[in-house]
């Protein structure tokens, strides 16, 4: 009668909290970029760059601002939860570290020779590791520069680190550009390797609880 239960706790490649936070973040990023472009249009940094009305969020300035200062709560709260989870569970350490220069060169070499393997979703190559770590760092910087833009007087000590108000805007803008660049690569690759997209919805393959991820048959 008594079934022997496996002592191993079965775990998916992307546990439920990661998937939920990933898609909340996707919505938040969409709101922040679209409304940010609307706010940017009112006083452009680059004379030649206006974002077309058809791709910004908010028809009028106040709507862009309303969305931005609504989305910021989702982006920041979800981002703090995600970073805390990644650190506390050891997921970052396991998936994103270590990154060695030699691995990066090897991955770039493989990519240039069209030898990049992506049949194993559970393993990130060195370039993926760098990109994920990089976009997280940019995510932190865009929040810090955003705080300095929102409250240059209340947080004048923080704002002073960026130099001037306009310099802070440029940093905030460049962070956005870096995230958009990341998204172009991230979304293209997710579409090229659809099982990675599916995995972010269903959880993906079951992985061993142990440190070395291995696909169970």
């Amino acid at each position: 009668m008594s079934a022997v239960k496996s002592t191993h706790h079965e775990r998916r490649l992307h546990p439920l909290p990661v998937r939920v936070m990933h898609w909340i973040n996707a919505v938040a990023i969409f709101i922040m970029i679209g409304s940010g472009w609307k706010i940017y249009n009112d006083d452009v940094i680059l004379g030649w760059l206006h974002f077309p009305d058809s791709i910004v969020i908010g028809k009028w300035a106040q709507y862009g601002l309303q969305w931005h200062f609504f989305g910021m709560w989702i982006f920041v709260l979800n981002g703090v939860a995600y970073l805390s989870y990644g650190i506390a569970t050891g997921r970052f350490r396991q998936k994103l570290f270590p990154v060695s220069i030699r691995d990066i060169l090897a991955t770039v070499n493989d990519a240039l020779h069209f030898r990049l393997a992506h049949d194993d979703l559970t393993h990130y190559n060195a370039v993926q590791k760098i990109l994920y770590l990089g976009v997280m760092a940019v995510g932190v910087l865009i929040v810090i520069s955003g705080l300095a833009l929102w409250k240059p007087v209340q947080f004048s000590e923080l704002a002073a680190l960026f130099g001037s108000f306009q310099a802070t805007r440029v940093v905030h803008f460049l962070c956005m550009a870096a995230i958009v660049g990341f998204l172009l690569v991230h979304i293209s690759l997710a579409l090229l390797v659809p099982q990675s997209l599916v995995a972010m919805v269903t959880g993906g393959p079951v992985v061993d609880d142990g440190a070395a991820p291995e696909i169970k048959r």
Partner: protein
């Protein structure tokens, strides 16, 4: 097995439908073909694009966004540092003249006659006698060289002087425990600030820019200048000041801009 006729629905008409209406409108019915429907749908889409139909304008969406904006007002009040000074700059960095901004163009500014202008006082204030420009220009002046930051993203350094607002409110016996200070302007503009901001050491009733009496486009004879708010909170051409506990929407907050607008 018996064959039963279907029981007609209670709501089924006893008589068959009059087909006459179809024959009478034959031309119209023929006009309803797939291509026309498609064309109509496409131009409906084009119309919504042209008019810029925006989900933000939807009542329920506005309700949520404005509720968050009101929440943000409270957050900003909570993080406000009443004695923390904004960075100040040197006179050599001052931009002259200041940058003009209003909800209309500079040509449409209606200059005020300083000789007949009076500042009205209302609400929780002991002495409500109106002030003439002459009387206000006699008061001790404070000078601040601070950044003006516009919600649009631009900024410039300006040199403003005039009576400190806290001093002025004390002088007229205002209730400094009230919640808001309202400004009613000559151009039907309204603005209000929280009392903490009104009492901030860098909040003044500006009468001068770069040492000279304010020019007409910049608020002559009296305007607000505070170092802790976005540009639009700094009411120009003030004609009345009211101290009150009642919250009322202001010119820009009515249109969906954040009320607190702290920086």
């Amino acid at each position: 097995m018996s064959i039963r006729t279907r029981t007609p629905s209670l709501f089924r008409p006893r008589k068959s439908i009059d087909q006459g209406v179809l024959t009478r409108n034959r031309a119209l019915v023929d006009g309803i073909n797939r291509r026309n429907v498609l064309r109509g749908a496409v131009s409906l889409g084009a119309l919504s694009l042209l008019t810029g139909c925006d989900v933000s304008e939807d009542d329920s969406v506005q309700k949520v966004l404005r509720a968050v904006s009101a929440w943000n007002d409270r957050v900003q009040a909570a993080i406000f540092r009443p004695h923390h000074l904004a960075p100040t700059y040197s006179a050599s960095q001052v931009v002259k003249p200041p940058r003009f901004n209003a909800y209309y163009d500079i040509e449409e500014v209606k200059p005020i006659d300083g000789a007949t202008w009076k500042l009205e006082l209302a609400g929780r204030i002991d002495s409500k006698q109106p002030w003439t420009a002459h009387q206000i220009y006699q008061l001790p002046e404070q000078e601040i060289i601070i950044k003006h930051i516009c919600v649009e993203g631009w900024d410039y350094i300006g040199q403003w002087s005039g009576p400190n607002l806290r001093d002025f409110l004390q002088r007229v016996g205002a209730d400094l425990t009230a919640k808001y200070v309202y400004f009613i302007c000559n151009d039907d503009y309204t603005e209000s600030i929280d009392m903490a901001t009104a009492l901030h050491p860098q909040t003044i009733l500006a009468t001068k820019y770069a040492g000279a009496v304010l020019a007409d486009p910049f608020g002559y004879p009296l305007r607000l200048r505070t170092s802790t708010k976005l540009g639009y909170k700094n009411a120009k051409w003030i004609k009345a000041i009211e101290v009150t506990n009642d919250f009322r929407e202001t010119f820009w907050s009515k249109q969906g801009f954040n009320w607190f607008a702290g920086i």
